[in-house]
């Protein structure tokens, strides 16, 4: 069964309507159109996948992310999380335990004033026993490699460490899926690497589905599958190889190719024989050196003759 299955979901942010005002029906319609953040999104995610969602600011990525643990529910269409309809209020807590979210600003999502209490917050909310809470908290801290900071104030941590604590807070609830909503946007390269390495490990070792919303194209190269959103719709989907083969489209949607793909494209434009959809250094290296080798070979054979 798919962990996430969305069927033509649309969402509009509420627009203030003045019932007395007769004027400007057109403007209101316009406003309503502008408030439409999602427009018929259909997609499926299988358990254990590492997914990247790309798209420019305002493309609807974050709105979609908020649907995933029922912070908002679709105005049209249906979204199933692990078989549960997000509109089913009785399943609300199960959905939120199944899908955990890590947000962008580390300071605005930490509630506790000591690291271990922060990680415990979710388990406390669902009424777990004291013993289970402690066990869960320390296991989660161990998994994100923050055990030694258990008794420290979050204010004293670096950005990358704060985000790892946030991941631990989600992890303590034993989720099947973790959604990262631009969680590395405010971090420096080292912090970004810390967080990405942590979630990659969770994905690989524990089979937790990861959905990463990001502006870093390099991160997307390593995903299993990519969705590109624009204007509230899924405009492209596929493996990194498929997505980054469609070079023109990527740029039309306000994104940028990873540097590796940019180089492949530049070389190809200069007449070199480089295949489309290069995603790793090895592939590009092979493509460049293979040509050299074949040329060298022909030279050698020519020389022999």
């Amino acid at each position: 069964m798919e962990i996430i299955k969305s069927e033509k979901i649309s969402y509009s942010y509420p627009v203030f309507e003045d019932p007395d005002s007769q004027e400007n029906k057109e403007l209101l319609e316009k406003k309503k159109e502008a408030a439409k953040a999602l427009d018929g999104v259909s997609l499926e995610v299988r358990p254990g996948q590492f997914i990247c969602i790309l798209g420019r600011n305002g493309s609807g990525k974050s709105t979609f992310a908020k649907h995933l643990n029922a912070l908002i529910t679709p105005t049209e269409g249906t979204l199933w999380i692990d078989g549960m309809d997000t509109k089913d209020e009785e399943k609300l807590w199960d959905i939120r335990r199944t899908v955990g979210m890590v947000f962008q600003n580390p300071d605005n999502q930490i509630i506790g004033s000591i690291v271990d209490e922060e990680v415990a917050f979710g388990l406390e909310n669902i009424g777990a026993s004291t013993r289970d809470i402690r066990k869960g908290v320390y296991k989660a801290l161990e998994e994100v490699n923050m055990r030694e900071y258990a008794k420290v104030s979050p204010n004293k941590l670096s950005g990358g460490q704060k985000q790892r604590v946030a991941v631990a807070g989600v992890l303590a609830m034993n989720p099947k899926c973790i959604v990262l909503d631009e969680s590395t946007a405010m971090l420096d390269p080292r912090g970004r690497k810390e967080v990405m390495d942590t979630v990659k490990k969770l994905n690989k070792d524990d089979g937790i589905t990861i959905i990463s919303i990001t502006h870093y194209m390099e991160e997307a190269l390593e995903a299993d599958y990519i969705f590109v959103m624009d204007n509230g719709q899924v405009r492209m989907q596929g493996t990194p190889r498929e997505i980054f083969s469609r070079e023109e489209e990527i740029e039309e949607l306000g994104l940028k190719l990873p540097q590796l793909c940019q180089l492949a494209k530049a070389l190809r434009n200069k007449g070199m024989d480089i295949p489309m959809g290069i995603t790793t250094e090895e592939e590009l290296k092979d493509a460049i050196t293979k040509r050299q080798i074949s040329e060298n070979d022909s030279e050698i054979t020519a020389g022999e003759k």
Partner: protein, 275 residues
């Protein structure tokens, strides 16, 4: 700005006072303040000071740290001394213009100042020796009986702990906004009060917007982690009384009785030093 405030900041050491249940300490503060106002003679005062000294010794909070916290209340003490010193009636020993000094006034001023310092130091010992989380957990528990009359004890405690966490973050934010506007040539120093008040707008508006954004982010984050108020919530570190807490309560009771005793007994035998 806020960063200078030392009053009420937890001092991280392990001591017997530190380990006491926050409820005992909350109760202690109430008893202590009551005692300060019960006593009415020099012996009582000495008793209170001695008790405070023992408390500070046991808490392992350095005296220097406590004195630093007092910096902000000195002027309050001075005002209190000033009024008691120069405007008290009694055996006048000095007089100039509207000011007059009396023997009783001097005594009263000294007594009042010492009392005030005792109250401030004593109650700040609570926050020096209790982590914010523990303190709010204690308050929540103490307020629990009020739930029956729909008093939102949990909500108040949660608000307090969030406020405590965000004070350093917001103070940093204010600092940053001020600097950013200074970098745009803002002048917060010169001009009259109205000019100055107007000059605050470029700080206040961004600050409010930022505070609202943070609040909304935090609410979303809490909701996504299954928060739904205090009902059905459990704790990783629930408050549990230990033997030392029972001892604490007994000490507090004895302390209160001793203060009352000192007031009643000394009244009969001693006339000197009574105020």
């Amino acid at each position: 700005m806020f960063r200078d405030i030392t009053i009420g900041q937890f001092y991280p050491v392990t001591s017997i006072i530190n380990k006491l249940d926050p409820r005992v300490k909350l109760c202690g503060v109430v008893v202590y303040i009551a005692a300060v106002f019960i006593i009415n003679n020099i012996f009582g005062l000495l008793f209170i000071i001695a008790a405070l000294a023992v408390l500070i010794y046991l808490s392992k909070v350095p005296l220097k740290h406590i004195m630093k916290g007092l910096r902000f209340v000195w002027f309050l003490v001075i005002i209190a001394i000033f009024f008691n010193l120069f405007f008290s009636d009694g055996d006048i020993i000095w007089r100039w213009w509207i000011f007059h000094m009396s023997r009783q006034g001097i005594l009263r001023a000294a007594f009042f100042a010492v009392r005030l310092v005792c109250v401030i130091v004593g109650s700040s010992m609570l926050t020096y020796t209790t982590t914010p989380t523990n303190l709010t957990a204690g308050l929540e528990k103490v307020m629990q009986p009020l739930n029956k009359i729909h008093f939102p004890g949990h909500e108040i405690a949660m608000m307090m702990s969030i406020a405590l966490r965000f004070i350093p973050i917001l103070s940093e934010e204010i600092n940053k906004i001020i600097k950013a506007q200074l970098a745009r040539g803002a002048d917060f120093d010169s001009g009259g009060i109205i000019v100055k008040a107007k000059g605050m707008i470029p700080i206040m508006i961004p600050l409010f917007i930022s505070a609202f954004r943070r609040a909304s982010d935090l609410a979303t984050a809490m909701e996504s982690r299954c928060y739904s108020g205090g009902e059905g919530r459990t704790k990783m570190y629930p408050l549990r009384y230990h033997k030392r807490d029972t001892v604490g309560y007994i000490v507090l009771l004895l302390f209160l009785l001793a203060s009352i005793g000192l007031r009643i007994l000394m009244q009969q035998f001693v006339t000197i030093g009574r105020i």
